[in-house]
Symmetry: C2
Subunit: 453 residues, 2 copies
Amino acid sequence: MSQVEEYVKSRRKKTLEELKEILRIPSVSTLESHRKEMLRCAQLVARRMKETGLQSRILRTDRHPAVYGERIAGSGSPTVLVYGHYDVQPPDPLGLWRHDPFEPTEEEGLLYARGASDDKGQFFALLKGIEAFLNTREGPRVSVKVIVEGEEEIGSPSLRALIRQERALLSADVVVVADGSQFARDLPAITYGLKGLVFIEATVRGPSKDLHSGAYGGTVANPANVLARMLAACQGPFGRVAIPGFYDDVRSLEAWEREEFAKLPFREEEYREEIGVPKLFGEEGFTTIERKWARPTFDLNGLSSGFSGEGAKTVLPAEARAKISMRLVPDQDPSKIVRLVTDFLRSVAPDTVRVDCLTHHASKPVLLSRDGAHVRAAVRAFARAFGREPVFVREGGSIPVVNAFQEELGLESLLLGIGLPDDDAHAPNEKIRIEDVYRGAVLMGAFLEGLEA
Amino acid sequence: MSQVEEYVKSRRKKTLEELKEILRIPSVSTLESHRKEMLRCAQLVARRMKETGLQSRILRTDRHPAVYGERIAGSGSPTVLVYGHYDVQPPDPLGLWRHDPFEPTEEEGLLYARGASDDKGQFFALLKGIEAFLNTREGPRVSVKVIVEGEEEIGSPSLRALIRQERALLSADVVVVADGSQFARDLPAITYGLKGLVFIEATVRGPSKDLHSGAYGGTVANPANVLARMLAACQGPFGRVAIPGFYDDVRSLEAWEREEFAKLPFREEEYREEIGVPKLFGEEGFTTIERKWARPTFDLNGLSSGFSGEGAKTVLPAEARAKISMRLVPDQDPSKIVRLVTDFLRSVAPDTVRVDCLTHHASKPVLLSRDGAHVRAAVRAFARAFGREPVFVREGGSIPVVNAFQEELGLESLLLGIGLPDDDAHAPNEKIRIEDVYRGAVLMGAFLEGLEA
């Protein structure tokens, strides 16, 4: 057993108690009434960083502060920047929790609390790994920087400005993002692919006000009728997107990816039952995992028009609106897709209505290295902490901070989640496996050791 | 000038004062708090009937009573049943009224009040015509029956049961419906065609709950995506309905109808501006009036699914819902159309979702006689009251009481509206031309005289 592992092992109880102390603070970033708790949590995180051996400070933002800590090694040493967040989702609906969400409770090897997995348990595990690393050697030969923000659950509104402003402070060779999950229990994973996102709101406007469908029907284009046809025109069979040019820049899955994905323990029937649909669905020629991780999508997230109350009302609505999101894969370009989609929607609309397209969001898909020194160090560290090498996976969602570090600092991220897919982040009874907290600490310590070699 | 005309003319002031008294009662049927006012209004109407020379009584229903009056002539005389309603729409939004909606106000030949046109002013005008008829002869040779209900503005929930229960009392040769309008000022009209209506709610259900569109997108059919395609499949170009069999029973417009409609003073450009659309729209080969009155429609009245708030939320919705109404024309059969449409919707839905279709409403289109003794009498009566013969028109909407009298008593209706299209029924500042109240009285008196001949 290495010194790092011994260090972590000998301090298990202390680690758990310290984590509980952080979990007790209801740092719900979305609630204006919790501003004080947010600051209190930031201050506790700063104190923990100090105890770890980092010089720490609070970085103010317009809303909730971030906490920064660092220990700079000799010049020429590699620098690792660790990212996490101390804010949490609201605990609602409270009635479904079996314990107080802010009184961490142990049960059968699990620790229940809001933020246990997302993300207090995870960033704290990595912080403990840094402590183990720093306390088991004289002059460490890796510089360590840590930033823990307080606005992740509200979309990280200050993060980009903060990164830009603190460019020098945050400069590094790689970012370790401590906010994700293993593929399954005891099956650690490195996520190397994230989807991008384009979110558009399309509004079709017709008459200046709602009309009586008897008095006017048949003489004027009904915006809801028109919208349905426009949205249908975007779709091909089996979830294919029918917008010309949409697939032009889609990078094909490589043979090794398809092989690796096929080997993962994924049961379609279990997945179907979990979702509760009569049958799964998707683009022909791809498995469910391939569709989820590596194929772009076109999903309506919202439809609204006219009368939606109970019963009947024969209104010919003045307008109809759709919220549309497209998940993008490498190498699709969000601004090109926005242009393609809005041009297409306008082109299929008749001149009897007006169409407005509003872009709410456009972010790039991400494809990270699957080898290189950092990745290889992470693979070895996983092997030490979890007793097996990680699988390489992608995700169907996006992680905006990964784009922020890439675009603002030119830094690649290493996505080393130690949570589990069924940790119930964002849901009642959120939890983390206590063993995984310790393994996360070993993972981080071993990773830093690996970079010294 | 006939006796009837002289009678009406000599009592103008009294007629107006009596009408105002009825208009002062806020008989808003939809408001539970107005029950007393409803009863007070019914009692006043019963008293006015008595003064007219009818035997009157209140007919109880589960909610608001109807008022019935009659004067039976010798056996073998024709019988006319006049229908109207004393209940009114709520006056909201009150702020937009220039006068108290329940304090009738004269202004430039117009009488402003809630119910002035819909329908107190109209049924009262006809009642005054009956009075003129009865008071200008010894034994009249036409039996007159009048029913004035109190639930029209809430969908006449008791009317069918009442008609069935009072079948003998209400038996007649024809019904005169006093609730409509002239085609334009000084251009009286007889409405001979009404559309039917089928109102369906289609719900597409997919996952058992809303999903994250990143985590699940592309692997499961999105109910909103599916609904858009289903609704598009129902539509052909230019408002044509693409559901097979939909047009099978549509009766073509006759040559004389197209000629008459073309002669009506209808300005497309004015109509387009009133609606506020960039361009009118509709089935090829038909004029706007023909589309409005004589072609079936398929209109989405409501769409709802997923997230409809401000901004973006990447939800893959569990379900999507559409409210769909089809206006039917003779000889389309509502139950056949319900079957065609629901079968079609189910047939175009993939087996990856569940589809429910709920029928909220199904009523038959109506085509009334354009000649026959009653119609000819009405034409002559219009000529006497308005100085010109009426045009024959249809409507894009339906009038449920016409179906009720047809289906329950086998009676045809004569639709003799004396209001104007811009009377603002249901809107603030509702009004009626005072002159048209007097002309309505002459119309009714002359009509009854005509039936004696």
